[in-house]
Structure formats: C-alpha cells, structure tokens
Amino acid sequence: MRVTSNSEPITFRVSQRALAVLEHASAAFFVGVVITFLALPAVAIIERSIAKSSLLDAIGSADVRDSLRLSFLTTTTSLILIVIFGTPTAYVLARRRFPGRRLLDAIVDLPIVLPPAVGGLGLLMAFGRRGLLGQYLDDLGISLAFTVWAVIMAQSFVAAPFYIRTAKAGFESIDQELEAVARTLGSSPIGTFWRVSVPLARPALMAGAVMAWARALGEFGATIMFAGSLAGKTQTMPLTIYRSLETGLDVPLALATMLIGISLVVLLIFRSLFQATSV
C-alpha cells in the first residue's frame, strides 16, 4: 500500500522519538549500573553507621583517637617529603631530555601498578634489619622496620607517584617561552624554577599533593608488612579498621565513615584545583 505524502513525516517523527527514548534508556542503564556499583558500598557503610547509636562512642575511643592522630601525623610528614623531593624530580622529568628518561618515568610509576603487599615486602627486603641497605643502617644503630618511619616510608612509597605524575603534567603544560623570557631577563635556572615554573604549575602541584595525601591516608598493605601494627605507634586508620573488625563493627564503621567523608572532600578539592589548571 502506498503511503500518502502527509502521513510520512508523522511516522518519521514517531520513530525518531522512539530512537531518542531508547538512546536515553540505554545511557541511563549503563550510567546507573556503574554509579550504583561504585557508590553503594559507601552508602551502605554510612547507612549502617547512622543506624548505630554507638558510633559516637566508637569515635571517642582511645584506639580511634590514637589511629587518627597517627594517620594525620604520618600522612602530613609523608606529603612534606614527597613534595620536597618530588617537585624537582617532576620538573626534571618534564623538561630535560636525557638517555634513560623513559626508564626513570617507568620507575616512578611502578608503585602505582605494584600490589601494596609487594611494596611492603620490597621495603622489608631493602630497609629491614637484614635488608640490602638495612643491614648497614643496622650497623649504625638505625632500625626502621616497625617504627613510625616505616609507616611514613610505606606511605611515601605508594603515594609519591601520584604527586610526581600530576606535577610533571603541570610543568609540561607551562608555556616554555615564559621560562625562556625569565632566563633572558637574567634569572638563574633555579630562580626561574622557583619564581616562574612552580607558581605557574601551582594548581597541578596542589592537585597532585591532595591525591598523594589521600593515597597515603588509605595505605594498608605496605604498612602492615613493613611497619607492623601496634596501637598508638604504627596502627594507622586503615590498620585499625582491619584490626577492630575482629571484635565488632562499631569502630570499623566509624572509621570507614570518616574516611569516606575525608576522601569525598579531598576529591572535590582535587576537582576544583584541576579545573583551575585547565583554564
């Protein structure tokens, strides 16, 4: 049967609308699955925490306070060390061209892909009492394993790449001519680095620092292997969560809720800083 000329546009419009509906539905399906999968664990923890009235008691307990204090102390120290040593490293990796640069790049990224347990074992084999370097430190009376320094080393090991990568990208995005201009105006290379490159890359450096700090805060595997777990000395928040799961859910839920809150805030800060860089 032949269709009349004025009915054709109508059927076309309907199928177009059906297409649009299907398109939206499938998009919603995929996004929905992903978001549900990623958000549900956090939502479940918060939901269970709210249901428990003992949450505040748990937050006030000595174990939780000790681990909070320790976590903030160690992650702050780790971050300071990462920034001091990581910033020049990132700059060199971003600017200089030299043989072996790719290998160096890969070494910096290694802790990101390594399981933290491998990192912990490696730290033990390197800096432990019978370790590659640790045996000489031991002769000098320096013992790192099971100390707060072991916690800081484990955190720095896993978190440093996050800072260096972001900082490197930040330095790479700077207009090199600005640095060249500074040099022609008589600024020394180090002066240029501090007065031109670092201020220009600051949003990226801040973003990298925030990510590295969050990663250090969550460090578990390398810490438990290299620093052990002792309340008040080496037991950071993630280790307290693991340890206290043996006795009940109050403390783990309280700490988990706090970590989720902190992480969300950190990520939002990261977002806004990252937007500042790209502008």
Binding site: L19, L22, E23, A25, S26, A27, F29, F30, L124, G128, R129, R130, S143, A145, F146, I224, A227, G228, S229, L230, A231, K233, T234, Q235, Y242, R243, L245, E246, T247
Partner: protein
C-alpha cells in the same frame, strides 16, 4: 553515535532476555541431572558410594600444614571429595562467617572464638576438642638480641612480636606473661616490661613466625607446632615450662548453614579418628583422644 547507543541498547535487551532464558534452562538442568547420574553410580559402584562433593573448612592458622596434609589424604581416598581451606586467625574467621562467608566447618584455636561463634548462631552448639597445643618462644637463628632465657624477653630494646589479643595465640601469650609475673623468678613487672617491648601485633600466628624467621623481630610467642620443618632451620626455640605454659584446646564445630552434613561429619570424625590424631601428633599437636 545515536546508532551506536541504539545498537548497544538492543544488545543489552537481547542479553537480558537470553540470560533470563538461560537461567531457567540451568535450573531445569540442575534438578534433572542428579537422577540419571545417581542411578548410574548406584549401578556401577558398591552399595555405599564414595563420598563426593565439596567442603569448605575455616581453620585457625596454626592448623595450616596439618589440615593441608589431611586434605590431600582424604582427597586421595575419596577422589570426588574436594576440601577448600581458609586459614586465618580464628577471630577473623568467626567475623567472616558472621558477615555471611560460607563455611561448612569451623576449627578454632580456642574456646573463646568458638563460644562467640555459637552465641552469634553461625555454628552448632555441639563442638568437639580434637587437638591440644602448647606455647613456645622463638628467636631468629642469628639471635642478635642474645635471648637465652624467658627472662631475656624483658631486656630493654628487645623487639617482640605477638599476635593481637583477639587471636587465640595472642590471648594465650598474654596469659603466659601474666602467670610468669606471679612467679618470683620473673618479677611482678615481667609481663608489663615484655609487652613494652612489643613492636607489632600481627593478625595471625603465621605472620609472627614470618617476622621472626626474617630476623626482623628478636622474639615471638607461637605454638610449638608452628616450628614446622620449613622454618625449623631459621629459628631457635625457648621452651616455656609446664607450670607457666598454657594448653590450647582446638574445638571443631559444623556450621548452621552446612551444605552437606554427611561430608562435614566425615571430616570431623576423621579428625578424631586414630588416623587423624596420628596426623595431628606427627605435626606436633597433643592428642585429644
């Protein structure tokens, strides 16, 4: 782009439909399958067919080597029987079961965790003691801290690792320290001083052994059975006298949601059989029969 989304949408719809059909197919398959296969085995095999199926055993870390041995022994005897072990500290295992982990058998290293498991309703009330164990102090072979006696554990600067207070061996170790503190030859502050030397509370007994074996810690308190042939060459043993020692009792129970009660019963019976007890004894446990 729109085409792509449409294609993906259709694909998902088709997949969902297929999955739904497949699911019902599988259910039918599962319900109908046992009839022919059991008929075949009844004809082919003896009147009492060999036990087969899978069994999940949650066991205290100190049972690792012994249970692995028993597992392969039983698997040799009954090729259709597959036992999966989950070894960890008993408190962790109990928590895992309480949070829904599937297990058929729970073998604890102390009554405390078994009783807690009974209270929370994950295992049956009837538990049986199948083995006993004793505490021992281990030091690395190099023994750079020069630990020769139990009193030396209280020397300043000695690095001690224990299991945490909730895992059975950590609990026993603290009880030993308490007992020793009441003994005049140790002194009342012995336990406190030793705990002051603690550098790490490990999550299970095998981690304590590992830290001492690697010579990262100067001493640890573990079960005598933890000095397995694999670690015997790397550590030295300091005996804890009977008067101060504790006898750890290992209870075993079948869980409430056991998948196959006969298989679980077979395993627990084996633990208490002469053969099971011999295996336990060969690994250094004290017999319970």
């Amino acid at each position: 782009m729109k085409r792509l989304m449409l294609a993906i949408g259709t694909l998902v719809a088709v997949l969902v439909a297929l999955a739904a059909c497949g699911g019902s197919d599988n259910e039918q398959g599962n319900t109908s399958a046992p009839t022919p296969s059991s008929a075949v085995s009844a004809v082919a095999a003896s009147p009492t067919p060999l036990p087969s199926g899978s069994l999940t055993v949650f066991a205290a870390g100190s049972l690792t080597e012994t249970f692995n041995d028993m597992g392969s022994l039983l698997h040799q005897r009954y090729p259709g029987l597959n036992i999966t072990f989950n070894f960890a500290n008993a408190a962790d295992l109990r928590t895992q079961m309480e949070l829904g982990a599937k297990a058929d058998i729970f073998a604890s290293a102390d009554h405390k965790q078994m009783n807690l498991a009974v209270q929370s309703g994950v295992v049956e009330t009837e538990s049986r003691v199948f083995a006993r164990n004793r505490l021992v102090v281990i030091v690395p072979k190099a023994n750079s801290a020069g630990i020769k006696t139990l009193q030396d554990l209280a020397k300043p600067g000695v690095k001690i690792v224990l299991c945490n207070a909730d895992c059975p061996v950590g609990n026993y170790a603290r009880q030993f320290l308490q007992k020793a503190s009441a003994d005049p030859s140790f002194g009342t502050d012995y336990g406190e001083t030793v705990l002051g030397n603690l550098v790490s509370e490990e999550t299970n007994v095998k981690q304590v052994v590992a830290k001492v074996q690697l010579d990262e810690a100067d001493a640890g308190i573990v079960y005598s059975t933890d000095i397995t042939p694999a670690v015997a060459g790397a550590v030295l043993k300091i005996v804890i006298p009977d008067a101060l020692n504790l006898v750890a009792e290992y209870p075993v129970a079948i869980t409430k949601d056991v998948a196959n009660r006969n298989l679980a019963q077979l395993f627990t019976d084996f633990l208490l059989s002469k053969e099971g007890q011999d295996t336990l004894e060969a690994h250094g446990f004290i017999r319970a029969d």
